[in-house]
């Protein structure tokens, strides 16, 4: 109902949808992956610059719904500067938030995606760029599973 809708489309999500952050190609990226949702045709490219197992820079481009675009935008902010191990933990936490509605340790900013839980079909939208980011990390040639 209306409260569910308001919780899903919080103003910060709409703002990131209108003006996505880090929305460009990363020329000196060390890892890249594409996130595609075949159900709706949404498509995002995520680029990472990883040095000493730390995300030095991150950017994305693509098109999708407000949830997927805002999620990608806020993900780039959340992971920049973090270590790969921290980012992997963040991935798990974020996934837990949008599927179960709560997570034990997640930056407060990302809590705005809690409302996704009321719309199970939209979980894929919220996690599309996160999966792409994880795939990019996993695609690194020297990568060892942590």
């Amino acid at each position: 109902m209306t409260s569910e809708l308001d919780e899903l489309y919080q103003s910060v999500i709409l703002d990131h949808n209108r003006s996505p952050r880090n929305f460009h190609k990363l020329e000196d990226a060390t890892a890249h992956a594409e996130g595609r949702n075949p159900l709706c045709g949404d498509l995002f490219d995520v680029w990472l610059k990883v040095a000493d197992e730390r995300i030095v820079d991150v950017a994305f481009l693509g098109q999708g719904c407000a949830i997927s675009k805002a999620s990608a935008s806020m993900m780039t902010q959340a992971i920049k500067g973090k270590t790969v191990a921290e980012v992997r933990q963040l991935f798990d936490q974020f996934h837990q938030l949008v599927t179960a509605g709560s997570a034990t340790s997640l930056p407060t900013k990302l809590e705005v995606f809690r409302g996704v839980r009321a719309f199970p079909i939209r979980v894929k939208c919220a996690t599309l760029s996160w999966h792409a980011m994880k795939a990019a990390l996993d695609s690194r040639p020297s990568h060892e599973e942590s």
Binding site: Y9, C40, G41, D42, A66
Partner: protein, 406 residues
């Protein structure tokens, strides 16, 4: 005659459901239609009192099931104006029917360099099966373009048709923009070139009074579940001389004449194309659906749906920043909407919170999305039980979506 929509609504139990606190407004009929109580009851009745496998049973239940199974085949032939029941093959759906034609007919006639014409507005189910068989046979796929107004470019069809064209596969009505294609004009050109015409009737069968006696196609496929029947059952009509010449598609029980270890001979059509235990309960349900819709005054229904889609088009045009794809087309009651700056999934979610069921996405027609330069649309599709009031609810919902997502 006028269409008594309230009387029809009373036949569909699901329409009394509430979704997220609102009465259900079901506008996803192009994906699947709801089922009248008679269909639901027929399936339950079959399992409660009549369940048995069809054909070759010596016992009463099997004979009853076989009689009903074949009664529905005859009913389907009558409903489609297909002539003999032997021209009707039961399939799993439109997709199953089109794959059957592609694999069996296509597989036996296509040679390297032969051409298959499809259109830019095909559902993936009338495109990918042709890609698969083209890959296997060395045939080449070409597409008839779609005009800005949502029609097929018949001049381009004329140009594309040639001595190597073997098959023209075209949808009767687009599942995305609703556009109705002039099958007879297309068939006349295709036949002149020596090609057979395969028609995807998934979206036309529920909305037009399809009469294959008046449509000059060689194959016609449709689905039970869009015709107010159950899922898992579809129909393939084929011209008898074509079906007769086609090899089996799948092997198994029920489709043979005689089997030896090294080789087999096959049953005549339609059994030749129905290997294995068929979806009997689904056929029974389809029979109930065909009995039900055959009682409708289709002239009144078609006029009613045309009125609904025209009014929806007019009222939706008043929503700021809303565009209807292929606006110029004659169409069945299917509309694809694009909202400036709003992704269809977001609009669809807002509508969902108001109890309005629409579809958001590419509708299994990515080439058509590309043609119109979009990745997805919001699709509203109307059926026999949708009301004028529901159009207003949809318009209000879209205005609200604009406000929420602004």
């Amino acid at each position: 005659m006028t269409w008594d929509v309230e009387r029809v609504r009373a036949d569909f139990p699901i329409l009394s459901r509430e979704i997220r606190g609102h009465p259900l407004v079901y506008l996803d009929n192009a994906a699947t239609a709801q089922k009248p109580a008679a269909v639901i009851a027929a399936i339950e009745h079959y399992y409660q009192t009549g369940n048995a496998n069809v054909h070759r049973g010596v016992h009463a239940l099997s004979q009853e099931a076989t009689l009903e199974y074949e009664r529905v085949r005859a009913l389907a032939a009558k409903f489609l104006g297909a002539g003999s029941a032997a021209n009707i093959v039961f399939t799993s759906g439109t997709t199953g029917a089109l794959n059957l034609v592609a694999q069996s007919y296509g597989g036996s006639v296509l040679r390297p360099g032969d051409e298959i014409l499809v259109t830019e507005m095909e559902h993936h189910s009338n495109l990918v099966p042709w890609q698969l068989i083209a890959e296997r046979t060395g045939a080449v796929l070409k597409a008839i373009p779609v005009t800005e107004s949502g029609g097929l470019d018949l001049g381009e069809l004329e140009r594309l048709l040639g001595p190597r064209t073997r098959i023209v596969a075209v949808t009767h009505a687009s599942n995305v923009i609703g556009a109705i294609n002039p099958i007879n004009a297309i068939a006349a050109m295709a036949h002149e070139a020596g090609a057979v015409v395969v028609v995807d009737g998934a979206q036309s069968a529920p909305h037009l009074r399809v009469d294959l006696g008046a449509i000059d196609c060689d194959f016609f496929a449709c689905s039970g579940h869009k015709l107010y029947g159950p899922t898992g059952i579809g129909l393939l009509y084929g011209k008898p001389e074509l079906l007769e010449a086609m090899p089996p598609w799948q092997g198994g029980g029920g489709m043979i004449r005689e089997v030896q270890i090294g080789r087999s001979t096959y049953a005549p059509p339609p059994e030749r194309f129905e290997a294995g235990t068929p979806p009997i309960a689904e056929v029974v349900g389809l029979g109930a659906a065909l009995d039900y819709v055959s009682r409708w005054d289709w002239e009144a229904l078609v006029a009613y749906e045309q009125d609904i889609v025209a009014e929806a088009g007019r009222k939706l045009a008043g929503v700021p920043g809303l565009r209807i794809l292929g606006e110029g087309a004659d169409r069945v009651s299917v509309l694809s909407l694009v909202l400036d700056g709003i992704h269809p999934h977001d609009a669809g979610t807002v509508l969902d919170t108001l109890g309005i069921a629409v579809r958001a996405g590419h509708h299994c027609a990515q080439p058509l999305m590309r043609r119109f330069g979009v990745t997805a649309t919001l699709r509203a599709s109307f059926g026999a039980y949708n009301t004028h009031q529901e159009i207003d609810t949809l318009v209000e919902g879209l205005v609200r979506a604009r406000k929420v997502l602004g």
